[in-house]
């Protein structure tokens, strides 16, 4: 059914592209393109030679016009574009749509996939032959948060084919969210050190004015607190930056073995200071995963650093790596032999600023954001973090990543 409509489709896809690039004028450009090029197509049709029986009009004209396949054109649209039939069955979904919304098989009902009430309304209106006015906001929260402005329309007249075009708004949305989150988090977490600094300042100007010993002690505490605040801001910024880009899966290739060697080497001074022996249990061959090297470095550096700090009493940390599961995935486990974590805390460790024990966290210069950062990076990599622990026997943090 789709094939016969290819030329029209190509034009509309092109129109969609223009519309997507100039969102404010979208309805006009879209309608204009469809009308103008539809008319052109009609005229064209008359002087074009009869179509071959197989009906594969991939060429736009008999003469010098370039050969354009509608499918190629739809595939070239950098935004998710879905073409569907009157029954709401998907006729074609381009790569961007597959990437954004997971598997969209041809023939699958669009209504089953896009369940938000507004989307149901939009699709229903389109297939009922109404002209959709304006765009619909559509968002998904899993696996990563995303937001789109969706426009739709009929393809040609009487073709009984329709399209939905998704314009990605995630970034804008995320910047807004980041701003409000940042302020909420920062103000909450910076209040404590600020309050303590201002308290000490007051004492220094008042009762402790002429007490050099106290002054020295207070100043060093204040220095510690400002260092803590700046660490906190660094971590908050890096988390916010990560959250902003969290929608696209990084495309690079990373050799986990080599990456972990370098993480362990980088942290050797720290583990040495803490008196922790880092044992490496790596397989012979390379484990390749899709990802961003710097970000994955941060994941394993955070995990190893935690293991050394909080599992210090165990004296050793084992970093192991293997291929496991069905389908096989790369699994990296950082295991310590410290005091372990009580079960009620385990599900909440990746929450921002969740602390099991604020005192010891502060002593270890923790900001409460390390594992939140880990979780974010892994989500972006389609990976996950599993935590197992028995009190008194240490803890194991396992990272699962799909193989390249």
């Amino acid at each position: 059914m789709l094939r016969r409509e290819w030329p029209t489709l190509a034009i509309v896809a092109g129109g969609g592209l223009v519309a997507a690039l100039a969102p404010s004028a979208a309805p006009f450009v879209l309608a204009g393109t469809v009308l103008a090029l539809g008319a052109w197509l009609l005229v064209r049709h008359e002087d074009a030679p009869p179509r071959p029986a197989a009906g594969l009009p991939v060429s736009a004209g008999p003469d010098s016009a370039p050969r354009i396949s509608a499918r190629d054109l739809a595939a070239a649209v950098p935004y998710p574009l879905v073409i569907f039939e009157e029954t709401s069955a998907i006729a074609y979904a381009n790569d961007a749509a597959q990437e954004a919304f997971g598997p969209l098989q041809d023939g699958m009902s669009l209504l089953l996939k896009f369940r938000a009430p507004e989307m149901q309304e939009l699709i229903g209106a389109l297939t009922a032959g109404q002209v959709a006015d304006g765009a619909v906001e559509y968002g998904e929260r899993f696996p990563v948060e995303s937001a789109y402005r969706v426009t739709g329309g009929a393809i040609g007249a009487g073709n009984r084919l329709f399209f939905l075009l998704f314009k990605d708004q995630s970034e804008t949305r995320r910047i807004d969210r980041m701003r409000s989150d940042f302020i909420a988090n920062a103000s909450h977490e910076l209040r404590t050190p600020l309050a303590s600094i201002s308290g000490f300042l007051e004492t220094l100007r008042g009762p402790a004015r002429n007490d050099p010993a106290a002054r020295e002690r207070f100043l060093s505490i204040m220095q510690e607190q400002t260092a803590r605040m700046s660490r906190l801001i660094d971590d908050l910024l890096s988390l916010s930056r990560l959250e902003m880009r969290s929608h696209a899966r990084p495309a690079g290739t990373v050799d986990l073995r080599q990456l972990l060697e370098s993480v362990a080497d980088t942290l050797a001074p720290l583990s040495g200071d803490l008196g922790v022996v880092v044992e490496r249990d790596f397989p012979e061959d390379a484990l390749l995963v899709q990802g961003d090297r710097d970000e994955l470095f941060q994941v394993f550096a955070n995990l190893l650093e935690n293991a050394c700090k909080y599992g210090q009493s165990g004296g050793r940390v084992v970093v192991s790596m293997s291929k496991a599961g069905e389908p096989p995935e790369a699994c990296v486990t950082v295991r310590d032999f410290g005091p372990g974590i009580a079960e009620e805390h385990i599900p909440r460790l990746t929450e921002r600023f969740y602390r099991i024990n604020a005192e010891s966290s502060r002593a270890q210069k923790g900001t409460g954001l390390g594992l939140a950062i880990v979780k974010h990076i892994l989500t972006r990599h389609h990976g996950r973090l599993a935590i197992r622990s028995t009190v008194g026997e240490g803890a194991a943090f396992s990272v699962w990543l799909p193989l390249k």
């Binding site: 009430p117 899993f142 385990i346 099991i356 409460g368």
Partner: protein, 246 residues
């Protein structure tokens, strides 16, 4: 819905439209839970009222799906995959209707906890819990659309995360109640909210099992154990001197 079309095309259409109604219902349920938790966290009684009103949509949808399913059974006397499709629709609709009720129950409590200002971590915990439940719900409804039964096992596994999270919140709420008796009223409401969200996860698991049955014709193995340990929590244990892992 099935591999080969039926001789009566209208039968195919009836089955397809049943599935679409389920999906629409699912969309409403997802939205309700999302808004219910948002109204709780942001203390927004207007949004809560809207959630409460939305529940009616789900109730009506469930009745309609039941009626349609009964009519299909009576008229077409479906067998095998078709029968599973129809029975599955009835079961999923009733689970989704319960999800809506639980969402409504959360929204109803917004007024009661409006003036309670718990530590940020508590609401963050509730949000994480609801995200886990919603992710589960979205996952099963996506499988219902894509028919990829292989993905169901992993989804069902994840329900364990919701239970563990709920147990953790249970402990945290007990701590606040013990700290100050004035916290007891709002914390009890929040406890019910957490419980409701945890139940939403259970309904998502039920739907996952139904979807698996509809697609494959086999029942899922009974391997999953309930891992909610809150019934064993008597009083909050002192924190292990361990430090935070962040």
């Amino acid at each position: 819905m099935t591999a080969a079309p039926h001789i009566f095309r209208t039968f195919d259409e009836e089955l397809a439209s049943l599935a679409k109604r389920i999906a629409a219902m699912g969309g409403h349920a997802e939205r309700m839970v999302d808004h219910a938790v948002a109204s709780l966290v942001h203390a927004d009684p207007d949004l809560a009222r809207q959630v409460i009103a939305d529940d009616l949509v789900l109730d009506e949808a469930q009745r309609e799906i039941d009626d349609r399913a009964v009519i299909i059974i009576a008229r077409r006397q479906p067998v095998a995959a078709d029968l599973r499709e129809v029975i599955g629709a009835i079961r999923i609709a009733s689970d989704l209707e319960r999800v809506g009720d639980l969402g409504k129950s959360v929204a109803k409590r917004v007024v009661a906890v409006r003036d309670f200002l718990p530590p940020v971590s508590l609401f963050r915990g509730l949000q994480t819990l609801s995200e886990l439940a919603l992710e589960q719900l979205k996952g099963v409804l996506d499988v219902y659309a894509s028919r990829e039964a292989v993905k169901i096992a992993a989804l069902r596994e994840r329900d364990g995360g919701i239970d563990a999270m709920y147990t953790s919140l249970f402990r945290e709420l007990l701590t606040y109640m013990m700290e100050d008796p004035r916290n007891i009223t709002p914390c009890t409401h929040l406890l019910f909210c957490a419980k409701n969200i945890e139940r939403i996860g259970d309904h998502a698991t039920n739907i996952a099992e139904t979807v698996y049955y509809v697609i494959t014709g086999d029942q899922m193995p009974l391997e999953r154990q309930k891992d909610d340990r809150s019934h064993r929590v008597v009083m909050p244990a002192p924190a292990v001197p361990d430090g935070d892992r962040s």
